[in-house]
Point group: C2
Chain length 220, copies 2
């Protein structure tokens, strides 16, 4: 199996090409690090973009929503989708506005959307999505009910092509700007979980599981 996505007109990174990556490991790593996917489709000729939770299994990205939700009906009917996941890692303060930028990890995926209707595949897809956002949680909860599966719409997007773009650098100023007496560097941005907040109905003696505590300490 190829370890790289083919570079085509669709996924070719044209600007800042030195930041581009097409190898599956890099693309998968960003997909696995993010929590919110921005999913774009064409509806009646116009663009629509919707934020969604997701999960990845091999070369497939699974999305879900209420079965009747507009986004599920759009995805069901649309064919091609484009998905971007971007994690902002910091602001790059250069010595000119022009050279200032940001550090980030970003992935763009192109593929066909397909409604997952067969119950076993749907169960597996939902497991993948749930475990992506809440690792270990599935084992702590009751099985989902038939009715709950019915009310949930699942979309599979098999990755046709993809690219990653990653920036992790200090400013790159023009030499003529270097004698400016202005501070330059990076202000890192960190997304992290804070403190677990129980709801008022948690039973006495029930503490967060090890999986929840591990997630609490994770950085995105």
């Amino acid at each position: 199996m190829s370890t790289e996505y083919d570079v085509s007109k669709q996924n070719k990174v044209r600007q800042l090409r030195e930041k581009a990556a097409y190898d599956k490991d890099t693309v998968h790593a960003v997909l696995d690090a993010g929590l919110v996917a921005h999913v774009a489709v064409v509806q009646d000729g116009d663009p629509v973009v919707v934020p969604m939770l997701y999960g990845r299994e091999g070369e497939t990205v699974f999305l879900h929503g209420a079965r009747k939700a507009r986004v599920i009906r759009m995805l069901e009917g649309t064919g091609k989708v484009c998905i971007n996941i971007t994690l902002l890692d910091g602001l790059v303060f250069a010595r000119s506005a022009f050279a200032s930028s940001m550090n980030y990890r970003s992935v763009t995926v192109f593929g066909q959307a397909r409604l997952v209707d067969e119950l076993e595949e749907k169960k597996r897809a939902l497991h993948v999505i749930n475990e992506h956002a809440m690792p270990g949680r599935s084992a702590e909860l009751r099985e989902s009910l038939q009715n709950e599966f019915k009310m949930t719409g699942v979309i599979a997007v098999d990755i046709e092509s993809a690219s990653a773009k990653i920036s992790d650098k200090m400013p790159e100023d023009e030499s003529c700007d270097l004698d400016t007496p202005v501070w330059a560097g990076v202000l890192p941005l960190e997304s992290r979980f804070t403190t677990l907040q129980p709801d008022s109905l948690v039973q006495e003696g029930v503490a967060p599981s090890d999986a929840l505590r591990a997630l609490q300490n994770k950085r995105l």
Copy 2:
């Protein structure tokens, strides 16, 4: 001037309607809190979504990129765009997978894209974008050069319609799940800047400005 966006087929929130808001103050607040916009356009009939820095002035969202960048050329040629900005605020751990969800602030904007070519408007738009991500920085830097303006492409999107969707809640479990001995509640997610990292060329005695220090302590 109206304080609400008209609700149309385009911007109507259909799922979880109780979380929807159409008033301009709420929409503007989310637009002003985010840093990365996901901008969707239709290219050759297919959807494309690109993450971009942005800034808002009144009812206009400004975007920028390299003048020759594909995204600028796409936006220049496309007409209609859809922009989503989502800030993930936490994971909601309910007592079933079905009731589990997330807390977030999200805004979707629809409008026409227009290339900003006139120099004075372009300067103002870039000022808005720069100050959005890096408040106070413009005053610390030299003026941009004619050549830098020329190499930068600016797009204006006048907001035609918009909606916000905000979720900030504890789990809402079915009553039959409430006697389950499982922890439930919210794990908040926080995006915050960490410590300013100077590059190796900062001149002796040059410290970060007050504006940079204030940004360092800001939460998104």
